[in-house]
Amino acid sequence: MKNLSYIFLLLIVAFGNVTAQQTPAKNQTEAITITGATAHIGNGEVITNSIIIFENGKITNVGTNGSIATKGKVIDATGKHVYPGFIAPNSTLGLVEIGAVRATDDDSEIGGFNPHIRSIIAYNAESKIVESMRPNGVLIAQTTPRGGWISGTSSIVQLDAWNWEDAAIKTDDGIHMNWPNPFTRGRWWLGEDPGFKPNKKYQEQVTTLTDFVTQAKATIKSKVGNENLPHLAMQRVFNGTQTLFVHVGTEKAILDVLRFAKEQQLQKVVIVGGDEAYKVASQLKQQNIPVLLTRTHSTPNYEDDDYDLPYKNAKLLVDAGVLVALQNSGQMERANARNLPFQAGTVAAHGLEKEKAVQLITGNSAKILGIDDMVGTLEIGKDATLFISIGDALDMRTNQLEKAFIQGRDVSLESHQTKLWKRYSGKYSR
C-alpha cells in the first residue's frame, strides 16, 4: 500500500499540470437548427443549401433551406459543410493509451479462442487519444480487441462520455476472428529465408478454427454441461444477432472464408482488411458480404502492384457493387484514426465520386456495423451525431470543425493537444 500511494503521488506530480479529458457535454435541451450548409447526407446524397433540425438528441428534419421552418437555436452555416459523425470501425481506441508503455496496453488477451473477452470493459472513455478524434469529425468508433484466432467481442462507442457504459451505443456488436494466412514468413533466426512463402500449416489452422466453431455449436445445442464460456459466447453469431468480423487479407483466404460462412450458415459476416477483396468482388457481392477495407494510407503489398492500389482499392470494390467502408488498423492506428476523413479523401482523389467517398466513413460504415438505425446518415429519426466544418472535411486544409454534436450534445472540440497549443502560443505572446 505504501508503495502504491508513492506511485500515486508520483503520478500526480507528473501529470499535475495537465487536467484530464474535456468534460462530456450536457444533454440537448433545446432544439437546434443548422441552416445554409452543404449537407453531406452520408448515403451519397448532398443538399447544397440545407436545413437540419434536431431535438432531444435526434434529427427531426432535414431538407432544403427555406422549405422548413427553423426551430430553437439557429446556427447559420452558410458556405459551410455538415456531415454525419465519421465512424472508425475496427479500432483499438481507448484500449491502449501509449503504444510502448505496457501498463497502458489492454487490447490483447492471451489464449487463442477468446470470443467471451469483451473490449467494452477496458474502454477508457477518458483517453487523451479519444478526445483528439472529435476535432477532425471522428465521433464514433468500434472498439475492438486484438490477438489470437478469435480476439473477442467488440462494442461501438460514441466519443464523448464519462465512462464506458455511457459511451456504448451498441454493446457486443460483433466477434472478431483472425483467419489463418496462406502465406508465412521465414524465421531468419533459424537461418530461414526471411521472405514470405506458402504456409504449409494453413489447412491445419483452418481446421482448428472450424473445429472450434463446430464444437461451440454442439455445446450450445446441448442442455447440460454448457458452462464453456468461449463456446457460449458464440451463440449470437450463430443466431444472427451478432456479426462475425473475419480479419483476412489475401484472395484465396477470402474465398475460403466465403465457403466457411456458407458451410456454417452464418448470417452476418464482414471481411476486415480484405487487401485483395477486389479480386473476388463478384463472389463477395453474390454472398452479400461487406468489407471493412485495409487502410488507404498504406503501401502496396507487392512490388509489382500499382503504386495507387491502396488508394483506389475502395473504389474497385464500390464499382463492383460491394458494400465497403474504411478502417485504420495497423501501425499507430489509434492516434492516426483521426485521419480517417483524409483516407476517404484520398480514395476520392483516385477516382471515387466525393459523396461516395463520404459514405465510406459514414453510411456504409453504419450499415456494416449494424448501427444504421442510429447513426451514419443525416436522416430523420437518427441520432444528431454530426458536425459542421468550415469546408470540405475530407481535405486537410478545410477540415476545420466549428461544432460537433453527439446525440445532440454540443461536444467540446478541445483536447489535451489544443490546450498545449494555446498554452505555448500564450507563452510566446507574453
Binding site: E97, I98, G99, A100, V101, K128, I129, P182, F183, R185, G186, W188, W189, G191, D193, P194, G195, F196, K197, P198, T250, E251, K252, H297, S298, T299, P300, Y302, E303, D304, D306, Y307, D308, M332, R334, A335, N336, R338, N339, F342, G345, T346, A348, A349, H350, L394, D395, M396, R397, T398, N399, Q400, Q417, T418, L420, W421, Y424, S425, Y428
Partner: protein, 983 residues
C-alpha cells in the same frame, strides 16, 4: 598408384626397404588441350612423380614408361574451384539469438578488439580431408580446390588442396596461405554485437586497414595477433565473398580506398548492371546457382513471386555469357550449388545461353589458377605443372562427352571406365531355339536393356561390369514367374558375343548375341531433333524489377504552358505562367515563353511546383541502424544506398525528388546520412548528391537509452538522459584531443569515428538530431554551444513548440511530423500544432516522413499545417520543399522554381496541398522519372511480361525441371527505430 608419390626423402622408414618410383606414364595419340587457347593433335603427355614431365608431339618415350594409348580421346587440365569450404565445417551460431544481454566486448585477448576480424585464422587446424566430398569434386572434373573457414568478416587464409585421395596431407596441401578471404558477415564463433549492420561491417573493415597501417609503421606497446596476421597476409590474393552484385560494388569501393583489388565472389546477378561490374576492374568468382523455376501452377500462390524474381530466373543463366561478352574475367565456382554434380547441367545451361566453351574452360582452369597466383603449376598442361588432367571421350562441354579419368598429382581416378566397350545397339539373341530382340541403350558404362519375344515385351534387367554382361528376363508366359539368365564376356567385340544361359527349368545351355547392322535401327534411334533455338531471355531494365525503365530517362527541354506556378520565391504563386526547362535547369519563368525546340506540355488548370524534399527518410537503404555501439559516427548510409527499392518509384509518384536517408536512432551518435535524388534506375553513386555538405544523425531519448528494448538491454551506456549528455561531452572532448594530436605533427592513429566528430566541430558536417522532449533538446543545444558549433536540425522534435524561442536563438531548424503521437511515452505531449508554433517563432520548419508510406503523400502532411494552426498555404508548401532543402544545404540547387536551379519539378493535377491532388509528372534535372500515362503503360507491360514468364515457368515445370515454391523476398520497411539483422 600411391607408390608413384614419394614420401619425403628425409622421412625415416621402418616397415621395409626405402623405395622410390621414378617411372613415367605416357599418354599417347590424344588431342591435348594444353590451355583453352591451344591444343596438340596426336599429342603426348608424359608424367612422372605427380608432375608433368613433358607435353608435345613426337616426343621420345623414356624406357621406364607405362604407355596408355588415348587415340580419339582428349586431355584437359583438371578444374580448379577457387572458393569452397571443402573439409572445413562452418561453425554453428552460438546460442539463442534472442537470449540474454548483448555482448559488447570481444571474447579474445591479444587479438583485435572485434571478434569478427579473424585474419589470423589458419583453417588447417580445423581442416579434415573429406574423401567423400573429394570424390564428388573429382567426378565433376576438379583436381584442386581452394578452401577456407567461411566465418567472419576477415576470415584468414585459404588452403589450396589437390584432391589426391591417395596422397598424404603433405602431398595434397599446395598452400596454406593461398589467399585471404573476406566477407561482410560476422563470425558465428562470437556473439560480440558490433557490427549489427552491413554499413557497420564496411566501416569496421576500413578501420582495421587503418589500424593495420598504424601498427606496421609505429612502435606500439601491445601485441595484436590479428593485425599482425593481416599485415602478413597483405600480399596474398584477397578473395571477397560479396554474394550479390551490389555488395560486390560495396566491397570494391572499400578496396579502392585502400589500394586493394579484391577478387569478388559474385551473386550471379551481375548481368543486370554489367557496365558497373566491368568498371570495378575486379576478377570475379561466379556461382552457377541459377534459381529453380517457381511453381506458379497455383495462381493464388504465384502472386508471391515478383516480376523481378521471375526475370532473375529467366536471366540468371545468361550471367556467365554476359560477363564474357563484356570482357569481365571470371572464374566459376561450385559455391552455392546443392550438389557438386550439378555443375555439368548448370554449365550446359550457361553454354546454351551463349557462354563460349573456351571461356567456360578458362573459367574452370586458367582463371582460377591466375586468381590464386598458381598459373605455373595449375590450370594448364605444361612441363613442371601438377599432373592434374582429365581424359574425355570428346571435347569438353560437347554433347555426350564422357569424362573417363581425372588424374590428380599423377594419381588416376576413374570416373567412367574408358576401357568399357560400347555395347549399345540392337541384338538378335538366340537361346534354346528362341530368338529374342534385345535393344541396349543408355550410357556405355550403365546400359539399359529391353527384351522382346516377337511383339511381346519381357521384363528384364541388365548389368555390365568388367566386360561381363548379365541379362535376366522373364518368360513370355506372364502367368508364371520364371527367368532366363544369360552371362557372357564381350571381349572387345560387341558385334558377336556368346556365353552361358540358364533356362527357367534350371538347365544350362549357351547363347549367342549378334548385333544388328546400324541402319536397321536407325529409324528407331532418330529422335526428333530438339528445337535448337537459343532460349528466350527477357530484357534487363533499370532497375531490373517492375517499373524499371528500358533505358535511363534523359533530360529534355520542356516548356510547361499556362500553369499555376508555386515559385517558393518572392514572386509567390504565379497564375497562368510558363516555365521553360533546358539542359536540366530551370531556364525561364514568365508569360508566353517561346518554346524553341522544347517539348510543350499544356499545364492549364494544373499546378507546377518544385519537387518535394524529405528531410527524414529510410527508403532505398540496405541498412538503417548500426546498433552495436553507442556511437557509430564511422558508419555511413552512403555505403548502403539501395537503388533498386520500389519505394523510390512510389515516392516519385508522390512528387518526391530528393531525400535524406538518415541513420536510425539506436544510439546517441548515429551514422552519417546519404542525401540523394530519386533518379530511379541510376546506380547508388549517381543518386548521391555530390559537392554538398554532409550530415550525421544524432538521437536522444527513449530509443538511445533503449527504454523499449526489453529488460536484457540494460548494459549499454547511457540508460538515462543524464548519461546521454555526458556521452556527447566525452566524445567531443576526445575529438578535440584527437585534433591536437593530429595537428601536432606527431604520428597519430587515424580513427574514422573521431575524424567524423572533428568534421562536426569544424563545421564541415551537420547534425540532424532525433529528439522528442524539451529537456533533451535544450541539453543538446547547450552541449553544442559549449563546443562552439550549432545543431543544424532537430528531426521529429515533437516538443519543439515548448522551446521554439530557444531554438530560434540557437539557429536550429525543426523537421517534424505533422501529427504523429501517442506511440511512446516521450511523445505524450506531441501536438499537431508543433510546426505552426515553431514556424511562428522564426524556426525554419519542415515536415518529414520517417516512413515509406507517408513519404508518398507529404503534400497532404504539409497541408495539415494549414488545418492545425493556420499556416498560410504558401508557407505550408515550403515545409516540404524549400525549407528541408535549406536544412540540407541543397537550396542552391533545389527547393524552389527559380531560374538556374535544377529542374526538379512536379506537375500536379490539382492544388498541391489538396487531398485531391495527384502528381502527374515528376522530373529530376529535366528528365521525367514519373509520368501518370507512362505508369499506365508500364502496368500493362508488367502484366504481359508476368504472363509470358509464367508460361515459361509452367513449361519448365512440365518438362520435369526442378521447381521451388513461390516466395516473396523480404522487403523491410525501415523506421528510425528499426534494428535490422545481419547474420
Amino acid at each position: 598408384m600411391g607408390s608413384i608419390l614419394r614420401a619425403q626423402e628425409y622421412f625415416p622408414k621402418n616397415d621395409g626397404v626405402k623405395t622410390s618410383n621414378s617411372n613415367y606414364t605416357v599418354f599417347t595419340n590424344a588431342t591435348i588441350h594444353t590451355s583453352p587457347e591451344s591444343e596438340i593433335q596426336n599429342g603426348m603427355l608424359i608424367i612422372q612423380k605427380g608432375k608433368i614431365a613433358q607435353v608435345g608431339s613426337g616426343l621420345s618415350i623414356p624406357k621406364n614408361s607405362i604407355v596408355i594409348d588415348l587415340k580419339g580421346k582428349h586431355i584437359y587440365a583438371s578444374f580448379i574451384d577457387p572458393f569452397t569450404n571443402f573439409g572445413i565445417q562452418k561453425p554453428k551460431r552460438q546460442g539463442n539469438p534472442f537470449g540474454g544481454s548483448p555482448q559488447y566486448d570481444a571474447t579474445r585477448e591479444g587479438y583485435y578488439w572485434n571478434d569478427h576480424i579473424r585474419p589470423e585464422t589458419n583453417p588447417l587446424h580445423e581442416f579434415k580431408y573429406d574423401k567423400k566430398k573429394a570424390d564428388e569434386f573429382i567426378k565433376a572434373g576438379f583436381g584442386t580446390v581452394n578452401t577456407h573457414m567461411p566465418d567472419g568478416i576477415i576470415r584468414g587464409t585459404g588452403l589450396l588442396v589437390a584432391l589426391n585421395n591417395e596422397g598424404t596431407e603433405g602431398d595434397r596441401l599446395l598452400s596454406d596461405a593461398s589467399s585471404q578471404l573476406l566477407s561482410f558477415s560476422k563470425s558465428n564463433k562470437s556473439k560480440q554485437i558490433y557490427p549489427t549492420s552491413l554499413m557497420g561491417s564496411m566501416a569496421l573493415l576500413r578501420q582495421v586497414y587503418l589500424d593495420a597501417k598504424w601498427y606496421a609503421n609505429n612502435n606500439v606497446d601491445y601485441k595484436d595477433l590479428s593485425i599482425e596476421a593481416l599485415n602478413n597476409n597483405k600480399s596474398l590474393p584477397q578473395i571477397f565473398e560479396a554474394g550479390s552484385r551490389i555488395n560486390g560494388f560495396r566491397a570494391d569501393k572499400i578496396g579502392d580506398e585502400f589500394n586493394i583489388q579484391y577478387i569478388i565472389v559474385g551473386g550471379g546477378d551481375e548481368y543486370a548492371r554489367i557496365d558497373k561490374v566491368k568498371a570495378t576492374n575486379a576478377k570475379y568468382i561466379i556461382p552457377l546457382d541459377f534459381p529453380d523455376a517457381y511453381d506458379v501452377s497455383d495462381p493464388y500462390m504465384a502472386n508471391l513471386v515478383s516480376l523481378g524474381d521471375m526475370r532473375h530466373w529467366n536471366q540468371a543463366p545468361s550471367n556467365p555469357s554476359v560477363l564474357q561478352k563484356n570482357g569481365v574475367q571470371f572464374s566459376l565456382t561450385t559455391h552455392k550449388l546443392k550438389k557438386i554434380g550439378d555443375l555439368s547441367k548448370r554449365l550446359e545451361k550457361a553454354l546454351k545461353h551463349g557462354l563460349d566453351k573456351k571461356t567456360a574452360l578458362a573459367a574452370l582452369t586458367t582463371i582460377p589458377a591466375q586468381i590464386l597466383g598458381k598459373e605455373n603449376v595449375l590450370g594448364t598442361l605444361k612441363k613442371g605443372a601438377h599432373a592434374n588432367f582429365l581424359i574425355t571421350s570428346k571435347e569438353l562441354f560437347s554433347k555426350d562427352n564422357i569424362i573417363y579419368e581425372n588424374w590428380v598429382q599423377g594419381h588416376k581416378n576413374i570416373v567412367n571406365d574408358m576401357n568399357t566397350t560400347d555395347i549399345t545397339g540392337s541384338y538378335e539373341l538366340s537361346v534354346a531355339g528362341k530368338t529374342y530382340d534385345v535393344s541396349i541403350t543408355g550410357k556405355p558404362t550403365k546400359p539399359k536393356a529391353e527384351v522382346k519375344l516377337g511383339e511381346t515385351k519381357l521384363g528384364s534387367k541388365i548389368t555390365y561390369t568388367n566386360d561381363w554382361v548379365t541379362l535376366t528376363f522373364t518368360d513370355a508366359d506372364t502367368s508364371k514367374t520364371q527367368y532366363t539368365r544369360i552371362v557372357g564376356a564381350i571381349n572387345k567385340n560387341p558385334k558377336f558375343w556368346t556365353g552361358k544361359a540358364v533356362l527357367p527349368n534350371g538347365s544350362e545351355t549357351s547363347f549367342t548375341a549378334k548385333q544388328k547392322p546400324e541402319e536397321a535401327n536407325e529409324a528407331s534411334k532418330k529422335k526428333p531433333e530438339a528445337a535448337k533455338e537459343a532460349p528466350k531471355v527477357v530484357s534487363v531494365t533499370y532497375p531490373n524489377i517492375a517499373y524499371g525503365n528500358a533505358a535511363l530517362p534523359k533530360s529534355e527541354n520542356i516548356l510547361f504552358k499556362n500553369a499555376t506556378v508555386w515559385t517558393n520565391e518572392s514572386e509567390g504563386i504565379l497564375k497562368e505562367t510558363d516555365v521553360l526547362i533546358k539542359n536540366g535547369k530551370i531556364a525561364a519563368i514568365g508569360k508566353n515563353l517561346n518554346a524553341g525546340n522544347a517539348k510543350v506540355i499544356d499545364a492549364t488548370g494544373k499546378h507546377l511546383t518544385s519537387g518535394i524534399v524529405d528531410e527524414h527518410s529510410h527508403i532505398a537503404a540496405a541498412a538503417i541502424n548500426e546498433a552495436g555501439h553507442n556511437s557509430t559516427a564511422e558508419v555511413t548510409i552512403e555505403d548502403v544506398v539501395s537503388p533498386d527499392d520500389i519505394n523510390i518509384y512510389r515516392n516519385l509518384a508522390g512528387g518526391v525528388t530528393s531525400i535524406q536517408i538518415l541513420h536510425g536512432s539506436a544510439n546517441p551518435i548515429g551514422g552519417r546520412s546519404a542525401i540523394i535524388k530519386l533518379k530511379w534506375g541510376e546506380s547508388a553513386e549517381n543518386l548521391i548528391y555530390s559537392n554538398t555538405p554532409k550530415f550525421i544523425k544524432f538521437a536522444l531519448g527513449e530509443n538511445v537509452k533503449q527504454s523499449n528494448w526489453g529488460d536484457a538491454e540494460r548494459v549499454r551506456f547511457p540508460q538515462t538522459r543524464m548519461g546521454v549528455e555526458q556521452l556527447y561531452i566525452d566524445y567531443f572532448t576526445r575529438a578535440k584531443r584527437y585534433e591536437q594530436q593530429k595537428n601536432s605533427g606527431k604520428p597519430y592513429r587515424k580513427d574514422i569515428e573521431m575524424e567524423t566528430l572533428l568534421e562536426i566541430l569544424n563545421g564541415k558536417r551537420f547534425i540532424s538530431c532525433h529528439s522528442y522532449v524539451q529537456s533533451e533538446i535544450n541539453m543538446l543545444m547547450k552541449v553544442a554551444e559549449k563546443f562552439n558549433f550549432r545543431i543544424n536540425t532537430f528531426t521529429h522534435i515533437l516538443e519543439g513548440y515548448k522551446v521554439a524561442d530557444k531554438m530560434a536563438t540557437h539557429g536550429v531548424a525543426g523537421s517534424t511530423f505533422s501529427d504523429w503521437w501517442a506511440y511512446k511515452y516521450e511523445v505524450n505531449d506531441a501536438i499537431p500544432y508543433n510546426a505552426t508554433i515553431m514556424h511562428n517563432q522564426g524556426v525554419l520548419v519542415a515536415i518529414n516522413s520517417d516512413d515509406g508510406e507517408m513519404s508518398r503523400r507529404l503534400n497532404q502532411e504539409a497541408a495539415k499545417s494549414v488545418k492545425y494552426g493556420g499556416v498560410s498555404e504558401e508557407e505550408a508548401w515550403k515545409f516540404v520543399t524549400l525549407n528541408p532543402a535549406k536544412m540540407l544545404h541543397i537550396d542552391d540547387r533545389v527547393g524552389s522554381i527559380k531560374v538556374g536551379k535544377d529542374a526538379d519539378v512536379v506537375l500536379w493535377t490539382d492544388h498541391p496541398l489538396s487531398i485531391y491532388a495527384k502528381a502527374e509528372k515528376t522530373l529530376i534535372e529535366g528528365a521525367t522519372y514519373f509520368d501518370l500515362e507512362k505508369d499506365k503503360a508500364m502496368r500493362r507491360s508488367i502484366a504481359n511480361e508476368r504472363n509470358e514468364l509464367s508460361t515459361m515457368l509452367l513449361q519448365a515445370k512440365n518438362s520435369g525441371l526442378k521447381t521451388q515454391p513461390p516466395k516473396k523476398k523480404e522487403k523491410q520497411h525501415f523506421h528510425c527505430d528499426t534494428v535490422e539483422h545481419i547474420h
